[in-house]
Structure formats: C-alpha cells, structure tokens
C-alpha cells in the first residue's frame, strides 16, 4: 500500500452524494449484508468516526466470517419499513487516491440522527471502495447497489439498536 499512499497525496477528487427517493419500493425484509471490517478503511488516511465501517452494528444479528479471503463479514439484519425515511441527504465525500478520506454532511433532515444519514451513504460507498481495491484502477461500480431499501433500513435499524 505505500504506492497508494503516494497517489493519495497527488490527487484529490470530490464526490457529492445525494439520496433521493425516486425508484423506492418500500419493503420490509431481512437481508444478509456484508459489513465492512476495519481494514476496509484506508490505513493511511482518516476515516470518519460516524461510519460503522470500523464497528459492525451491534445487536444486528450474528456476523460470520466468510471464506472468500477479502476480510468481509456477513451479518444478518432485520430491516424496518421506512418509506421516504431518508428524504434529501447530501454529503460531501472527499476521495484521495481512490479512497474515501472524509465525509462531510451538507444537508440532512434535522429530525433524524445525523450519523445514521451519513452512514447510509458512506457504507455503500465504502463497500464500493473494497470492490475497487481488488482490481487495478477501478473507478466506478455498476450493478447492485447497497442503497437498497433493506440495506439502508438495516443499517438504520442496527444503528438505532447500537445507540439504545
């Protein structure tokens, strides 16, 4: 990873993220979801403490190791139905050298816990980062997104439980 660290200093990219509610089938579901281990965050740069990346959501089920060698673990979460729960969320994600180094909230509904909103955005992005890290110079991920209802809701539920 030392080469990556050099790249980190060389280039900073700005990514803005907006959660909007179109294409949002409300659902109640139980999903098995990958949870990022601490290693998923960049070792050479600060990771926001508000993301659950370093701490699998407590009370969210039973994380189990997977044999794939990526260090990703699975956990079972029970999602809750929150139609239009997220509303408008906008965060600024600062990416350096292909790694997220900072996540700054720009806009979020004030009646919800801020960290949950940031996490709902940060977790899928960090998950993408893990995927990108496995292959050389992957810039973008197409396909399944972990912003699915069950995922976002599970993260939310897990965070709620963790705070309780």
């Amino acid at each position: 990873m030392p080469i990556r660290a050099v790249v980190t200093l060389a280039a900073t990219i700005l990514v803005l993220v907006l959660l909007v509610s179109f294409r949002t089938p409300p659902s109640t579901s139980v999903g098995t979801l990958p949870v990022l281990p601490p290693a998923a965050s960049s070792s050479h740069s600060p990771t926001p403490a508000t993301t659950p990346a370093g701490s699998p959501p407590a009370g969210g089920g039973s994380p189990t190791p997977t044999p794939n060698g990526t260090g990703l673990r699975n956990g079972s979460f029970t999602g809750t139905d929150f139609p239009n729960f997220y509303g408008d969320v906008q965060v600024k994600v600062v990416v350096s050298g292909g790694r997220i180094t900072d996540i700054v909230p720009l806009q979020y509904p004030t009646d919800r816990p801020q960290s949950a909103y940031i996490s709902s955005v940060a977790v899928p992005l960090l998950h993408d980062e893990v995927l990108k890290a496995q292959s050389a110079q992957i810039d973008i991920i197409s396909g399944a997104t972990f912003t699915s209802d069950s995922y976002a809701q599970s993260v939310q539920s897990a965070l709620d439980r963790a705070r309780a």
């Binding site: 700005l14 959660l19 292959s135 399944a144």
Partner: protein
Amino acid sequence: MGTVIALDVRDPGLPEEVIDSVFAWFRQVDATFSTFRSDSEISRLSRRELGLSECSRDVREVIFLCDEVCRRSDGCFDIWTGGRCDPSALVKGWSVERASQMLAAAGARNFFINAGGDIIARGRPARDRAWRVGIRHPEQTDRLAAVLAVSDLAVATSGTYERGEHIVDPRTRNPPTGLLSMTVIGPSLAYADAYSTAAFVMGDRGASWVAGIDGYAALAITEQHRTVWTEGADHLIVRDCPTGVG
C-alpha cells in the same frame, strides 16, 4: 429508499454552483417522478388526475421515450403495468443524462455520474486511460463479474439483485428467467437504462436484441453463471484485471 448519486469531476475549477445546480436537478426529478410521493406529477398521472397533455414537458418527454422502448421491445418494457404508471426504469438514466449535459455545458470534460449503478462516463480520469467500470457480480457481492473501460459512454445494469427491486415481465407479471444481470452500454443512459430492463426481461435472447440496436452493446451474466457479451462490448472488456473476464 434512495439512490446514491455520486459525481466525480476531474476537471479543476468547476464552480460549486454548477454542482449545486446538478443536485437541485435531481431533487426536482425526484419531486416530479417519484412514485412514492402522492403529490408527484407521475403519481397524479397514474391516478388519472392529470392527462398527459397537462403534464410538464419533462414528463411528456419521459413518457414518449418509454413508449418508444415499449414498442421496440415488444412490450418487454412497459411502464403501465397493474394500472399504475412507473417510468422509474428510464427516469434514472434520463435524469443522469440531463445532468451530464449540464456539466458539459459548464465546461466539464472529464467526469462521471453514478446514480445507483447507472453511469455516464465522459472523457478520461487520466491522460493514459479510460474510465474503468466494474460490473458487480450478481450473486457474490464482493466480487466483480467484469471490468469495462469506457469513455464517453453510458452503462446501465439491471438484475434481480438490484436494490432489492423485483423486475417483472410486464407481459406475464412473472419474474424473468435466464439471466442474473444485464448490462447495456451505449451513447444514451436513458435508453441504456430502459434497454437493460427490457433485455433482462427477455432473458436468453436479451443480448442479441440489444446487439440489433445501433450503437448499443450488452454484457449479461446467465443463470448458468456464464458471462456473455455482444460483439460491440468486446473491445470494452478489460482483460488484465484479476476479476475481469476473458
């Protein structure tokens, strides 16, 4: 619950206001097209409270494009199922395409927009290479099924796994069979988005249907876990990536 829209502009000096206007656009799209807001134009159209002629220009444009894809796909893409109107499978790509035009008009040349896996990639991230798009494996979520190198192209992927969303065959109301995921690459993300849904519904013959459309290519993952692609996609596939195909 929401689509994460990520914007990555590599050109220095793009004014913040341009970024703000792009995100204001997405909010406007959400307010207009959300099927989960009872006051959206689409919801009102769906309830027949509005006639199409009373709808905004944007809504009429989207409905027109959806009708075109419906005809072209022999009904495999149909926004009027179950008596409701849901153009979401085209709106996301369409709105990203509009956003990319806003960025280009402001002088951005090298950027991507990724709205929940639907992507427009313009220019290049670095002088010596194109954008590399990883296609997520439909079943092993921590794996890539393929890697594509694209420049000035749109990429859209549909699949059963996508956002927990259940794509149904509008003709039979059953879940489609044959494919795990369908990625369509082409010049327009509005069309690529809708084509990927239609081709996913078509199953085994989806890729060849896409190949028959000028300028569009397909990469599909079959239920037998084979990755297949049309000739038009062949030169886009990155073969030196460990998770790539070929």
